[in-house]
């Protein structure tokens, strides 16, 4: 099947403007600006069934339709902060198929009548940001960006903005704070960015992969897009496959492809031919899926993965084989979230700190079963209390790891080793 997003794998030199144009590039944006009204673009995208690819899966056209029409100017922000452990798709798109992504930014901007768009890249994408700056300059030079485009009243400028190392900036309101020159800490919502976004103005924030779909949807139509994928999850998805597989890589496949097809047909199977023990389908923010044959034959779409007690999220599929212990994994994920917690809300700041303390002791001191209980307790206490999804995400692997793989926590609580650390006893209200 020809690729839709990773087209550079089929078309050499697609990052060159003339090659991109020879392959139909920028026709969709030109058609939108010269022949369609902004709300017609929004309706088309609504009808396509496109859902946000950053993890939440919210319908893209609907997100655009929420933008406040009484407050101006409007902004578009492309979320290129890609920092979820296990996700590496946006980087490949921007580095190899930059014009399709930028055309997507332009189409989204037209749909919500924004005259300025910012691409927020994580600071580590330093080289990609310079590369995009060059591509933006080429588009300006060729008359696809700038003022009075194609002889109409439509104007659009796209700017890159580099982050500087903070996972939390992938959360859309933290990202807006960061562009405003502040620490990347999430805002209380509502108001949502569609009403109060960048500089307090209505703003749409869309993920890179989401935006990169738009030129093809406009060119080929929403009915064509819906022929791909499943009724619940239209289109194609880039599955970032990592962990203990033979061929980790990005795989662009229709929604509804099964885990087995991804891991065995595309990913070459598990290293050393070992069995798959667990899958984390949404990176470090995942719940663990306990793997058996039925699970492997489950289609990867938003609804089906939910039946397995997990979310597909950004489809960063981390494969774990039977040589790996789940307590080691949650040590890694807790360490990550503790490091990345922005410190603004107490449940996340304190919760990730305590989870980190306890899991370190589980690994090094074998402190007894009460500590596993305590870890589970802290994680559950955090749930539904955090300001943004980060805190919530930090508990997913902990709770489902302990619940679904209890045997992996046995060695941490060897019999006769029931010591409860003194400072745990001092915590008021704890009954150990």
């Amino acid at each position: 099947m020809p690729t839709i997003l990773l087209r550079h794998r089929d078309i050499p030199d697609l990052h060159k403007l003339d090659v991109y144009k020879q392959n139909g590039g920028l026709e969709a944006f030109k058609k939108a600006v010269t022949q369609m009204k902004p709300n017609e673009v929004t309706d088309l995208v609504k009808n396509s069934g496109l859902r946000g690819r950053g993890g939440a899966g919210f319908p893209t056209g609907m997100k655009w339709s929420f933008i406040d029409q009484k407050i101006w100017p409007h902004y578009v922000v492309a979320n290129a902060d890609e920092s979820e452990p296990g996700t590496f798709k946006d980087r490949e798109i921007m580095a190899n198929n930059p014009f399709q992504f930028l055309e997507g930014v332009a189409i989204a901007s037209y749909a919500v009548s924004a005259k300025a768009a910012y691409v927020y890249l994580r600071g580590e994408f330093w080289q990609i940001a310079s590369f995009l700056d060059e591509k933006i300059a080429e588009l300006e030079e060729a008359g696809y960006l700038g003022d009075r485009l194609f002889g109409t009243d439509t104007s659009l400028h796209i700017y890159t903005h580099l982050g500087a190392g903070a996972y939390i900036c992938g959360e859309e309101t933290a990202m807006l704070e960061s562009i405003e020159g502040k620490r990347g800490q999430p805002r209380i919502r509502p108001p949502f960015p569609a009403v109060y976004g960048l500089y307090g103005k209505p703003t749409v924030v869309n993920n890179v992969e989401t935006l990169t779909n738009l030129p093809m949807i406009l060119a080929k139509g929403s009915d064509w897009y819906k022929t791909l994928g499943t009724p619940d999850s239209a289109g194609v998805k880039i599955f970032s496959l990592s962990g203990r597989v033979r061929k980790p890589d990005n795989y662009e496949l229709p929604f509804g492809t099964t885990f087995r097809q991804l891991i065995y047909e595309h990913g070459g199977g598990v290293q050393e031919g070992r069995p798959v023990k667990a899958i984390m389908p949404a990176g470090a923010s995942s719940s663990f899926i306990v793997v058996d044959d039925k699970v492997l034959d489950t289609p990867m779409d938003y609804a089906s993965v939910r039946t397995l007690g997990a979310d597909l999220g950004s489809a960063s599929i981390i494969v774990i084989d039977d040589t790996v212990s789940i307590d080691w994994i949650i040590n890694k994920t807790i360490h990550f979230f503790k490091h990345e917690s922005c410190g603004k809300c107490t449940p996340c700041r304190e919760g990730t700190y305590w989870m980190s303390n306890i899991v370190e002791r589980l690994e090094h001191e074998h402190p007894g079963p009460a500590s596993v209980e305590l870890l589970l307790n802290v994680a559950r206490q955090m749930q539904n209390k955090c300001l943004c999804p980060l805190g919530e995400f930090s508990t997913m692997a902990v709770v489902t790891g302990i619940e679904r793989f209890p045997q992996d926590f046995k060695k941490a609580v060897e019999p006769g080793n029931e010591h409860v650390p003194d400072d745990f006893k001092k915590v008021e209200g704890l009954n150990l």
Partner: protein, 168 residues
């Protein structure tokens, strides 16, 4: 000389990206510019930026503390930032890091005696399929090194120690 004077053109290019009434947005790119001077951000540079954007020194300093790619003290000329996060660790990143420590004769967080390399463990760099991997950060910028071995890394270290070069 102040940042605004010394890098007049670059500062104006940065400011032009944002609405004039929201010039505070320029603080992050200006911090990168300041860092390109010495490899870390001096208090004088922070004050310069604060003056230029009409915000307080605290507003600027708070960002240097919050974002991990800004540094406020001198360390190695090159920061070797190895990803040891979950997906990389499933592909041997912890063992890779241990070997690097042994070969460089330093622990994570330390700098080689000649001041060339500071070794750091960092979280996910969006290169999970190409582990072990690290990025090199220097005053010039950042670059990725993927599918690395200890031997390949030590060759790179030797090159950086002997000749040094621009990064990014």
């Amino acid at each position: 000389m102040s940042l605004a004077k010394k890098y007049h053109r670059e500062v104006n290019r940065i400011l032009a990206k944002y609405p004039p009434e929201n010039k505070r947005s320029a603080v992050m790119p200006l911090l990168y510019l300041a860092q390109s001077e010495a490899g870390y951000i001096t208090k004088d540079a922070m004050q310069d930026i604060a003056n230029l954007l009409e915000i307080s020194l605290t507003d600027v300093g708070a960002l240097v503390g919050f974002y991990t790619l800004y540094h406020d003290k001198k360390e190695g000329k090159y920061r070797m930032q190895v990803c040891t996060d979950l997906p990389c660790a499933l592909r041997g990143a912890d063992q890779f890091m241990e070997s690097l420590c042994a070969n460089l004769g330093i622990q994570v967080g330390e700098t080689t005696a000649d001041g060339t390399i500071t070794l750091e463990a960092v979280t996910c760099l969006a290169a999970c399929d190409k582990a072990p991997m690290f990025q090199i950060q220097s005053r010039d910028g950042l670059e990725y090194h993927e599918n690395m071995t200890v031997d390949k890394t030590m060759e790179l270290v030797e090159t950086l120690k002997k000749a040094g070069r621009k990064v990014g």
